[in-house]
Amino acid sequence: MRWILQLLLITVLGYMFWLGWNGVPVQNKYQVREEDCSEATEDPATADDAAIEDFEGRYGSDIRRVVRRAGEKVFPSLVYIRSVCSNLENGRDAANSVSGSGVLISGNGEILTNYHVVDKAKSVRCMLYDSFASEAEIVGADKDLDIALLRLKKLPEKHKLPVAELYPEHVREGDFVMALGAPWGLTRSVSIGIISCARRYLPVNGNYNLWYQIDASISPGNSGGPLIDTSGRVVGINTLGVMQGGTIGFTIPSYVIIEVLDRLRKYGRANWTWCGFQLQPLRDFDTDTYFDGDSGVIVSGTDPESPARKGGFLPKDRIVECNGVKITALNQEDLPDIKRKLGLLEFGKKADFKVIRNGKEISISIVPVEKGRVEGGELALPRWGFSAKSVNRFDNPDLFFYAPEGGVFVFGIDYFGNAVRAGMEKNDLILSIGGEKVKKLEEVKKIYDRAIKNLNKSTRIEIVVSRNGRNNTLVLNYSTDYSKE
């Protein structure tokens, strides 16, 4: 029975998982939905049009020359990054060598790249256009935006750093863009394309931003590299590619990055503010769902223990104003902006909401809190053959559901280790080890260290896990040391 069920699920899910590339830094798990690009809602580029004319006046409109000039302008700021990142996903502390790209954005050596290029990095090495190489430190990194800010540990003495300019405005569909970076580690590469969609909604990560969809060729290694316009300005950071999608890539717009740069420098992360809303737009073509009216955003639910729930928000409430600013999400493309605005509220400070509930307008004030970590800590337990990770409400909501007071789960399993023989599975919530209840990683560490010290006394330990809400007792026999080899 169990086999049949499992087989069935795998058949069903087989549709949905795309093959990842081992050690490939560009995320490629996203499946593109066919939907219309939304039309540009405003026209921010009147000034830009003038700039284009000016540009044409100076360089002429020959596309070859335009592209060459723009490339030449930004190429010097392009950085090739190689980092060694710790990876516990296979149950061992197996460090991965990751390569990516970045762009210099300030004279003191600040480099913008993707979070996933330097995620859990033990070391980050950067090479500039002129082969100048230096280690870099991580100034700030945000998983939700997939953005990291690095700083070179030493600067070239002979010359000033070539700095690229971040373009604070929106670009439009059809604009020529170039992706710079090191696809497959081939440094100093450029590919050209257009903005296919300037307001692409992708339900990944924290949903704090819309994306630029581009048709310039992007490959693993392009991650963190700049997307530039024909004037040589950085309009975004290339982040996502689609493995089988041909020329479809996704870029985080610069206007979003600019908003969080200061917080990255100040807190070492974006340090979003958390209200705990589950939001829904007024109109959704896909699910044929339409709410009356054309203002506000629907609260479909609230996260447990969140400021929003404590503040008394109920499902189907409609938020129309926050701190006196009108809020509207007509379509899902409007959601990231709202989430970012809410995420950039000052935490610990009261926020006033105007809400329509059952046709009546009411006011609700809540005190948003710091979002804090969006991912739990990790711990490798080599002798036991698995790695453990703290449950994080944002990263593992389904596990957090069963462990609201904190918990530890099986993050990775070494398929040549002891845990796999005991029948342990990924995402098992660890309730107790050797009879001791565990909720924190430190407790696991303590029991593990003690077990390793007492190897001559016992090499068997009972672990109770919860899997799909149901308890299982596993006996881990770690008499064999598979981690030796």
Binding site: M1, R2, Q6, S300, G301, N468
Partner: protein, 719 residues
């Protein structure tokens, strides 16, 4: 040369047999000279009768073996007829020529349609033969040879009865006949104490002759109860012609057909929709089927006994019973009762059936020794009764269920065939015991007529709980202990110090959870105990092999995160995120039934003990929960039953019903509703059960639902 060899063999063998006979008896010695004389006189009349068999009308080989005595092993050997047919072999039996074209040989109790041809061999010549007549008292038949030219060396019956007598016996060892001489032992007799009958003992296939070798008579049976008539020569034997015997068999067949009917029993489909698995018919186990074919037996009082083992859960779903009469008419029958401990139901046909009904044999079983009986195979061949009757003779007995003595017959397929006495009273009836009483499921016992009669004459022959049910009553028939089990393994067993008791973790289930107010809780079971076996009604201990314990574990976390990506056509195949509570243990226990007492073997705190408990009714679960099909919207919802509430950590007063089905392409599917989502409210009104949902949805087309997918809420609108 051949003859010489044969003679040596015979001499050697006769000496061997004689020595043995001398050791066992104090009868007259057989000296070499006498032996030679008798052999010389009688050997020429010995024939070899070859039976060639054929497949029956259904293309099957007849299911029986031929028994013959092997002098090498001093024991009986059996030749399976299927092997005989396959090898194009014949079964060779010794016979004696008694006329120019007449041979008497032993009766193998064959049915004429199984025989392809019979050949008689004598002196290197082969003659085709047919069965001419039967001698039922002597277990012998007479064959007549069709060849008008044939002239067999024959035996003349002119011996003197009053002198010393000898057996000239013939036996066959893989086609080579052996013969020998032993003293006549007819004066040695045994008495069947129960039947008060005296029997005379004799070797098989013998010519009984005087000391000159002149034949007195022939003998084929080991026990002969004919007293003075036992030395009558074959001319005086009681004879039935082959035509006469065939006619009696046909009459008996007709009698069976008048009193046995194909019965079709239809159950309504099970309510368990816990996991919507698609099963082909070939993958279905008995309990998955909703239509059963059985055979009913008319009782003298007009009721019909149907051999069909139904659990209380199955009987609860009983819809209708239809009998097919011999004339092809189908009539309905009313359920009367399920036998208490046996897998059979009694039904009352809506019209009186013309047959006389089958009477049970109630005489002394021991008195049936050496009596002719009818081994009867009754099959339901596509709505028609097909009968094969094979005459036989009770030679041995065995103990059956309840320390009762029943006949043991060769070629009688226990568990399938019925046994009738010569006057067609029911002697043996195979029935399986009710409930799960052994782990193989094959718990068929042979009930003799008297035992059956006792069941029917008891004060309450029927199980009051094993009856058809209607409505909600029907759903409450699943039994359970109220525990969650986890399979043991060797490591777990060692860690719990129960390796010895669990065969190193091969059997037994670790109790990971005991539900409050469950039968297990009231029996004092607790978490960490190990369940080894259960036992019902003096049956066997049914051990829980650890590989049989299905924790129904998906082996992975339920993919809530990827849920939107599941294509619509797979909606109905998504397994439930929680384990199905109707697991194999509960399915087995439901076969015993709610309210029945069982005994559990448990290891508690390292100590083994037995505990008794009464099986409780499982509360309604996702499979049986009440549902509402909102067909206008294209989804169904079910009440959130206990295991659903556990999985979603819903408190008893939390509202919510669970989506049980979403039709692909329906409005619900387009609106993004998915199976196993919780509907919290409709237009802002909290929904506690499907009845409320029905009220809130009926007549409406535009509604908005608040729906929760594991942890995330959203509003689903139907515009």
């Amino acid at each position: 040369m051949k003859k010489f060899f044969f003679a040596i063999l015979m001499v050697f063998f006769s000496g061997f047999m004689a020595a043995e006979a001398a050791a066992a008896n104090d009868s007259a010695e057989v000296d070499q000279e006498l032996s030679e004389r008798l052999l010389k006189k009688n050997s020429p009349a010995v024939c070899q009768v070859d039976y060639y068999f054929r497949l029956d009308k259904y293309g099957k080989s007849p299911n029986f073996s031929i028994k013959y005595f092997c002098p090498n092993c001093n024991n009986y050997h059996y030749d399976r007829v299927s092997g005989v047919i396959e090898g194009k072999n014949a079964v060779s039996i010794p016979g004696f020529a008694v006329g120019d074209r007449k041979v008497i040989t032993t009766d193998l109790n064959l049915i004429p349609e199984w025989i392809e041809r019979i050949e008689v061999r004598q002196n290197g010549k082969v003659y085709p033969a047919v069965i001419q007549s039967y001698y039922p008292e002597r277990m012998a038949i007479a064959l007549s040879i069709n060849d008008p030219e044939a002239k067999l060396s024959k035996i003349e019956f002119n011996g003197k009865k009053d002198g010393k007598l000898y057996h000239f016996f013939v036996t066959d060892d893989y086609g080579i006949p052996f013969a020998g001489v032993v003293p006549y032992r007819g004066d040695h007799s045994v008495v069947n104490l129960a039947g008060n009958v005296r029997y005379h003992y004799s070797p098989e296939n013998t010519v009984i002759c005087d000391s000159d070798g002149n034949a007195v008579t022939l003998g084929f049976r080991r026990y002969l109860a004919l007293r003075d008539r036992r030395l009558d020569s074959p001319e005086k034997w009681k004879m039935i012609s082959a035509a006469e015997r065939d006619r009696t068999l046909e009459e008996k067949k007709k009698f069976i057909i008048e009193n046995f009917f194909p019965v079709s029993i239809v159950l309504s489909p099970p309510e368990n929709r816990g996991n919507r698995m698609m099963l082909r018919h070939s993958q279905m186990s008995e309990s998955d089927k909703n239509e059963f074919y059985a055979i009913g037996m008319l009782l003298p009082d007009g009721r019909v006994l149907v051999r069909a083992k139904f659990s209380p859960e199955q009987t609860g779903r009983l819809e209708n019973i239809v009998l097919t009469l011999p004339d092809g008419n189908r009539i309905a029958a009313e359920f009367v009762g399920s036998l208490k401990d046996w897998g059979a139901i009694v039904v009352m046909p809506e019209k009186k059936i013309s047959g006389k009904g089958i009477e049970f044999f109630r005489g002394k079983m021991a008195g049936m020794f050496e009596q002719p009986v009818n081994m009867t195979a009754i099959r339901n061949m596509d709505g028609k009764i097909d009968v094969t009757i094979r005459p036989g003779r009770v030679e041995k007995f065995q103990k059956s269920y309840g320390n009762r003595i029943v006949p043991l017959l060769e070629n009688f397929s226990t568990g399938k065939d019925l046994l009738f006495s010569n006057d067609m009273k029911l002697l043996l009836f195979p029935l399986s015991r009710q409930g799960m009483v052994n782990s193989y499921g094959n718990d068929t016992k042979l009930l003799d007529g008297g035992a059956l009669a006792d069941i029917f004459s008891s004060a309450s022959p029927f199980d009051p709980d094993n009856i058809p049910r209607k409505g909600k009553d029907r759903l409450a028939q699943s039994a359970w202990l109220g525990v969650e089990l986890q399979e043991l393994n060797s490591e777990l067993a060692r860690n719990k110090n129960v390796s010895a008791l669990t065969d190193d973790g091969e059997k037994g289930g670790l109790i990971t959870r005991v539900r409050e107010n469950s039968p297990a809780a009231s029996a004092g079971l607790k978490e960490g105990d190990i369940l080894l076996y259960y036992r019902y009604a003096n049956g066997q201990n049914i051990e829980l092999a650890s590989y049989e314990i299905d924790s129904n574990d998906l082996g992975m976390q339920f993919p809530w995160k990827e849920y939107d990506k599941i294509p619509e056509q797979y909606f109905e195949m998504i397994p439930t995120p929680w384990p199905n509570v109707m697991n194999s243990l509960n399915t087995q226990l439901s076969r015993i039934g709610v309210g029945k007492k069982i005994t559990l073997g448990v290891i508690s705190d390292g100590k083994f003990e037995e505990k008794e408990l009464t099986l409780g009714a499982m509360p309604l679960h996702f499979g049986t929960a009440e549902r509402y099909n909102a067909s206008d919207f294209g989804f169904s919802a079910a009440n959130a039953t206990f295991e659903v509430r556990e999985y979603f950590r819903m408190k008893p007063d939390d509202p919510g019903v669970i989506v049980s089905r979403v039709a692909p392409g329906s409005r619900a599917s387009v609106a993004g509703l998915r199976p196993y989502e919780i509907i919290l409210d409709v237009d802002g009104v909290a929904v506690r059960n499907v009845e409320e949902l029905k009220k809130l949805l009926s007549g409406k087309s535009k509604v908005s639902l608040t729906v929760r997918r594991m942890t995330v809420n959203r509003v689903v609108k139907f515009n």
